[in-house]
Symmetry: C2
Subunit: 352 residues, 2 copies
């Protein structure tokens, strides 16, 4: 049954920290019935974030949000330091007492919180810790035998739009009648799709094995084409190991490079973003040592650009790489999908 | 106080599976007083593994080994499947009842075993799970400010001799009067050095942060030179994320490439070992995107070669790469250390 979410994002709904909230509003088949953010109370989601195109009301408190008959509470932001602020605790307590399901993508598992776990039991509801990984085996090589074509989104950095690119390209593939699925590898993708594993949360030795299990499951869900959600960036000093776990464990047949054109440094570190050509060389070079895969197109995030700037950035990327390039949010995914689809057709099953 | 180990390696002491036993016998300041392996009972370690140069007796059972007054039991092999065989359980029970410390590098934590934990409490002794990682923070960049020079051993694959190369080069550096330390990143290195973190056991998001914490601790132990133990191999599909966590999180200034010349495929996978030049290009290329580091020498493992073959392999590696190359076990580490030392001297503190 579809959820009716109340989303907690106090004093942060329009910030990057609320990307869980934005992702679920934009892409989940569940409904967001209210967002809690006292700083924006009285407005609607589309008033403050037009591209989300949702009429859900923004309210001052969890209690006000209860008027909209939610069935689940979503922790919509990642609090700094990973510790749950007190006002979140109060809302989660109230939600459990009201028998709402509580959904969280925090590193700290709410099921490990003695008070929350007891309340969930007492009120016969459940806490879904999106990031809790299943026990994963070592990588076995079974992913190399997956017959569906696997497309991995790889980034110039973390948080540039890899999940969005995968979801938009999935939509375009389905428009063309392809039997395709999204394979979620992070907490937001898991919240959207209802399955998946947060690879960043898996013990390092087993991260490629966990990625492999996901594409095996993906093939049970779609016969032709899998869009595997990428993570991190290959020269992000903190997150590159997770990137590599997907690059090797996910056994992609093709890569789509994703970049936010406004970014020139790795987030939080004094490390430059690589050029398109260096990124392509690095990703393809690593794949070539295990299972070859080429970058077949570039999905640009031009959110912070004017139309003219966006056009210029897309043209520049095309000129530098000779690859199909587009912003799949600004311009829709169909053009980029149609441009890369021939590179994905290695067997007769893809009828694009 | 130094330990007196009884080492469990039943029916496996001379196999690769017993590399924990071999590493501790070769390099630990703790003493191995007996090895349990019924298949070799009555002989001594040096009879069956001459290069280990230990007179410790090999006995048929844990009970026989108790005659040599051990103070600790070491699980000397990694059982297939990671599950503890029944004969190990019996010996561990007996050891705890005899108040021996029990030391294990298995993925399965012996402290999580209800029976073992209760016995340890009851008999006032302890179980040291070498692989149990501390809580690690995200990578911060603090490793980039470490003043000691950091040398990371990087491999053509897992289990080729990266730890051994680091320990041998450490010995050579100390011979030259350099204030140097070994920085352990795996269970065997931890057993040998008495500190460290098994990076492969850390949650993927925090693996670079855990590596960073290790070099920060390393600098508190030695002012000039750190030999950071490498893990895995950059195109090992299962272990490459751990390799990359050390390459970025450990912030090396220089790399020493390690290869077993008998190996041409990645262990357990149908993936070729890369050529020396491809390995150098791949490792240096990745470092260049975050903190540049060059491969300054190659440590070859020629264990399975005749003297002539070993000489030819060393010459071939030199010819292909133009780098200092040697087998630091067969020929001792001093020549290779002296050849690479100039490349490590970037400040006046190294007085080689």
């Amino acid at each position: 049954m579809s959820r009716r979410y109340i989303v907690l994002a106090p004093r942060a709904f329009t910030s990057r920290a609320a990307k869980m909230a934005h992702g679920v509003i934009a892409y989940s088949s569940d409904t967001v019935v209210a967002v809690v953010d006292p700083a924006l109370a009285g407005r609607r989601v589309r008033d403050v974030m037009p591209h989300l195109a949702s009429d859900a009301p923004i309210v001052a408190s969890f209690e006000e949000g209860m008027a909209f008959a939610p069935t689940a509470l979503l922790v919509g932001i990642a609090p700094a330091g990973g510790k749950l602020p007190d006002d979140f605790r109060a809302a989660i307590r109230s939600a459990l007492k009201a028998r709402l399901e509580v959904v969280s993508g925090l590193h700290a598992m709410l099921n490990d919180d003695v008070e929350f776990a007891a309340l969930a039991r007492e009120h016969d509801t459940r806490i879904w810790d999106l990031r809790l990984p299943p026990a994963a085996p070592l990588f076995s090589g079974a992913a190399w035998d997956v017959k569906a074509k696997i497309v991995l989104t790889v980034g110039s950095d973390a948080a540039v739009g890899k999940m969005t690119a995968a979801l938009e390209l999935l939509r375009a593939a389905r428009e063309r009648g392809v039997d395709a699925a999204f394979v979620p590898t992070g907490q937001i993708g898991i919240a959207i799709a209802g399955w998946g594993t947060a690879i960043d949360r898996v013990v390092a030795d087993f991260a490629p094995g966990a990625a492999e299990q996901l594409v095996l499951e993906g093939e049970r869900r779609a016969r032709e084409l899998l869009f595997l959600e990428g993570q991190g960036g290959i020269n992000n000093p903190a997150f590159a190991p997770v990137t590599l776990a997907l690059l090797f464990g996910g056994a992609p047949d093709a890569l789509v490079l994703v970049h936010n054109v406004a970014r020139d440094r790795i987030e939080d570190y004094d490390v430059p973003i690589l050029s398109y050509r260096a990124l392509i060389r690095t990703y393809e070079g690593l794949c070539a040592t295990v299972k070859p895969a080429r970058v077949v197109g570039i999905a640009l995030n031009t959110r912070d650009c004017s139309d003219d700037e966006a056009h210029a950035e897309i043209e520049r990327a095309r000129a530098e790489t000779g690859l199909p390039c587009d912003d799949v949010v600004r311009n829709g995914p169909q053009a980029l999908y149609d441009a890369i689809a021939p590179a994905l057709v290695k067997t007769e099953v893809l009828h694009v």
